[in-house]
Symmetry: C2
Subunit: 357 residues, 2 copies
C-alpha cells in the first residue's frame, strides 16, 4: 500500500480517508463513480438504487468516514428533526423526570432534542425562543404557561407546534399538558383543614421566582382563608428551593412566629425534608408537635421512616404523553389541545388528625 516514505503515506491517506470527517457527498459519489443523488438516496435509505450500487456506496461512505450534513440536509429539504425543550432548572427532579418520560418517544420518532435551562427567567426564555426559532425546529416545549408577551407573540406567529408543560391552562399557545397548581394547593389546604390544622405556616422561595409554586401557595391560602386563617401572614421565603432553604426558613419561622404553627407547608419535598430535619433538631416531634407537608412526591419518601405528606404529580407520564401529543401534531394528526393531569394527595406520616381546641 504505502510505499514507505512519509510523503507517500500522507498522500495515500489523502486519497482514501482525507481529513475523514470532512468528506462530503461529492467525494463519495466520485469515488463510487455514481451521481451525487444516488449517494443521497442511499444515505437517506430511500428506494430506487440497485442493491449492488447501494452496498458499494455504503462501503465507500464508511471508508471515507462520510457523515451527511444535517445542516445542508434540513435546509434543502426544509424538514426538521429538532425539538427544543426549555426547563427552569435541572436541579429539581421534576424536570429530569419529565424529560425522561419524553426521551423514548422522541427517539423513536427520530427527533433530536435540545434541552436548555432558563433558571426561571422569562427574559432568558425569550432569548431561547428566538434562538430556537432560527433553527427551524419541528417543535418546541416550554415549561409553564407564563411567558413574556414577546415570547407568546413570537410563538403564535411562528406556526411551530408548541407544547406547554407542567402547568395548565385552557388557552395554551398551541398545546398544553400539566397539572393545576392552584387547585393542587387548594386541595392540600382543604385536606389540612379537614385534619384540623388551623395555624399553618408556609416556607417557599422569593415571590415571582416560580409562578407554579406561587399558584400552589395561592390555593393553600384560599383553603385556609375559608376557615378564617391567614397562612400568608406566617410565611418565610428562602433564597433557594433546596434542603437547606427549607431548613433555614423553618428555623426562621420557629424562632420568630408569635404563635407556634401546627403545620408547616413547603414549596416542595426538598424543602419539607430540610424543614423536618430542623424540627427534629429542636426535638419538635413530627407529626405529634407539628405537621410537615411538601409537594411532588420526591422519591426520597420511599426510604424515610416518616413519609412526608405531599401532593403526588405524574411527571414521567406527563412527559411521555406530552411528547406523544407533540409528535402526533408534528406528523399532522389532529391532537388534544390541552390535557389536565390529576394530582393526588399522599397522606403520609408527617401529618395527623388534630383535635379541635
Amino acid at each position: 500500500m504505502a510505499s514507505g516514505t512519509g510523503w507517500d503515506q500522507d498522500r495515500n491517506m489523502n486519497e482514501t480517508e482525507k481529513k475523514a470527517g470532512t468528506a462530503k457527498i461529492e467525494d463519495v459519489a466520485k469515488e463510487a463513480s455514481v451521481s451525487i443523488m444516488s449517494v443521497s438516496r442511499v444515505m437517506r435509505g430511500v428506494e430506487g438504487v440497485s442493491a449492488a450500487k447501494r452496498s458499494e456506496i455504503r462501503r465507500i461512505a464508511r471508508r471515507l468516514g462520510y457523515s451527511p450534513s444535517r445542516v445542508a440536509g434540513s435546509l434543502a429539504a426544509a424538514n426538521s428533526t429538532l425539538i427544543g425543550i426549555s426547563v427552569p432548572t435541572l436541579f429539581e427532579a421534576v424536570f429530569a423526570e419529565i424529560l425522561d418520560g419524553m426521551r423514548n418517544i422522541f427517539n423513536r420518532a427520530g427527533l433530536q432534542t435540545i434541552v436548555e435551562t432558563t433558571d426561571y427567567l422569562e427574559s432568558f426564555e425569550e432569548k431561547w425562543v428566538e434562538r430556537m426559532i432560527s433553527w427551524n425546529p419541528a417543535g418546541l416545549i416550554l415549561s409553564g404557561v407564563y411567558h413574556s408577551k414577546t415570547t407568546m407573540k413570537r410563538l403564535r406567529n411562528a406556526g411551530i407546534p408548541t407544547l406547554e408543560i407542567w402547568d395548565h391552562t385552557e388557552t395554551p399557545i398551541d398545546m398544553c399538558i400539566g397539572v393545576n397548581h392552584l387547585s393542587a394547593g387548594y386541595d392540600m389546604g382543604c385536606h389540612l383543614v379537614a385534619l384540623g390544622y388551623r395555624n399553618p405556616a408556609y416556607v417557599g422561595v422569593s415571590l415571582n421566582r416560580d409562578p407554579r409554586a406561587e399558584d400552589r401557595f395561592e390555593g393553600l391560602t384560599k383553603a385556609f382563608a375559608e376557615v378564617g386563617t391567614n397562612i400568608r401572614a406566617n410565611s418565610r421565603l428562602a433564597t433557594a428551593a433546596s434542603f437547606e432553604g427549607g431548613m433555614v426558613g423553618t428555623a426562621d419561622i420557629l424562632n420568630n412566629a408569635d404563635e407556634q404553627p401546627d403545620v408547616l407547608c413547603f414549596l416542595n419535598d426538598h424543602m419539607a425534608f430540610g424543614g423536618m430535619m430542623e424540627c427534629e433538631r429542636r426535638t419538635l416531634r413530627v407529626p405529634k408537635n407539628i405537621g410537615v407537608v411538601g409537594f411532588n412526591g420526591l422519591n426520597i419518601n420511599e426510604v424515610l421512616p416518616k413519609q412526608i405528606t405531599t401532593s403526588v404529580t405524574p411527571r414521567t407520564l406527563m412527559g411521555a404523553t406530552g411528547a406523544r401529543m407533540l409528535v402526533s401534531k408534528i406528523s399532522g394528526a389532529k391532537t388534544e389541545q390541552s390535557i389536565l393531569m390529576p394530582v393526588e394527595i399522599f397522606a403520609g406520616d408527617t401529618t395527623r388528625k388534630i383535635e379541635p381546641t
Copy 2:
C-alpha cells in the same frame, strides 16, 4: 388601518406580517429597498451599514417577525455555534451541577448547547456522536473516558474539539477534565482502614453499568486488600443508584452476611442515605454500631443531623473549567490537554475511630 372588512384585515396582515415566522431575508430586503447583504450585515451586527439604514432594517425585520435561519447561516458560513453534551443521566445531581457550571461560560461565548442523556449505554452514545457530527458542532462533550471503539475513531477523525468530563485519563480523545475515581475509592478505603474498619461491605449497582463507580469500587477493594480484607466478597448490587436501591441493598446485606459489617460503603450519597435509613429502622446505630460512607457530597448532607462521610467532588468548578477549556480550544487558543481535579474526603458523623479488636 384595516378598512373594516375581514377580508381587508387579512389582506393587510398578509402584506405586513405574512405568516410572520416564515419571513426571510429577501422579504426584509425588498420591504426596505436594500440588498439582501445589507440585511444580513445588520442582523449579524457587522460593520458597514449606515446608521439610518441599520435602524430602518431593524424596524422592518421586527415588524415582519423575521428571524435569520441559523441552518442556512451556518451552512453558508461554515461556522457553528453548537456544543453537544452527552451525560449518562439527569437524575444524578452530579451531572446537573456539571451542566450548571458550564452554562454561563457557553452562554457568554454565544454557544448553544444540546444536552442528551445516554442512560449509561455506550451504544446510545455512539449513535449520539454520529447524529451530532452531522450537525457540524463547534465542540462535543462526553461523560467519562470509556467509549466504544467506533465512537473514539469517529471523534478522532472528525477533528471536532472534544472534551471528556467527570472521569480522567492522560490520553484523552482530545481534552479531558475530571477526577480519578480509582484513587478516590482508594483514598476513602485508606481513610476507613486508618479509622480501624476491617469488615467492610459495599452496595452499588450492577457491574458494567457505571464504569466510574466500578473504578471507585476497585480502589476501595485495593485499600482493604492491603490489610488483608476482601470487600468484594461482601457486596450487593442494586438495580438503581437511588435512595431505594441503597435501602434494599443494605437490607440484603444485613440479612444475609455471615458476619455483620462494621462499615457500609455506597456507590453514592443517595444510596448511602437510603442505607442509613435502613440501619436506623433496624435500630442499628450509625456510627456506633455501623459506619456509613457515600460518594459525591450531595447537598442533602447540609441538613442531615448526621452528615454522611463522603468524598467531595468539585462538580460545578469542573463544569466551568471544562467549558472554558473547550471555548478556548474552539477559538483556536492553545489549551491544557488534561486536567485532574482533586477529591476531598469529608469525615462526617457516620464513621468513627474504631478500637482494634
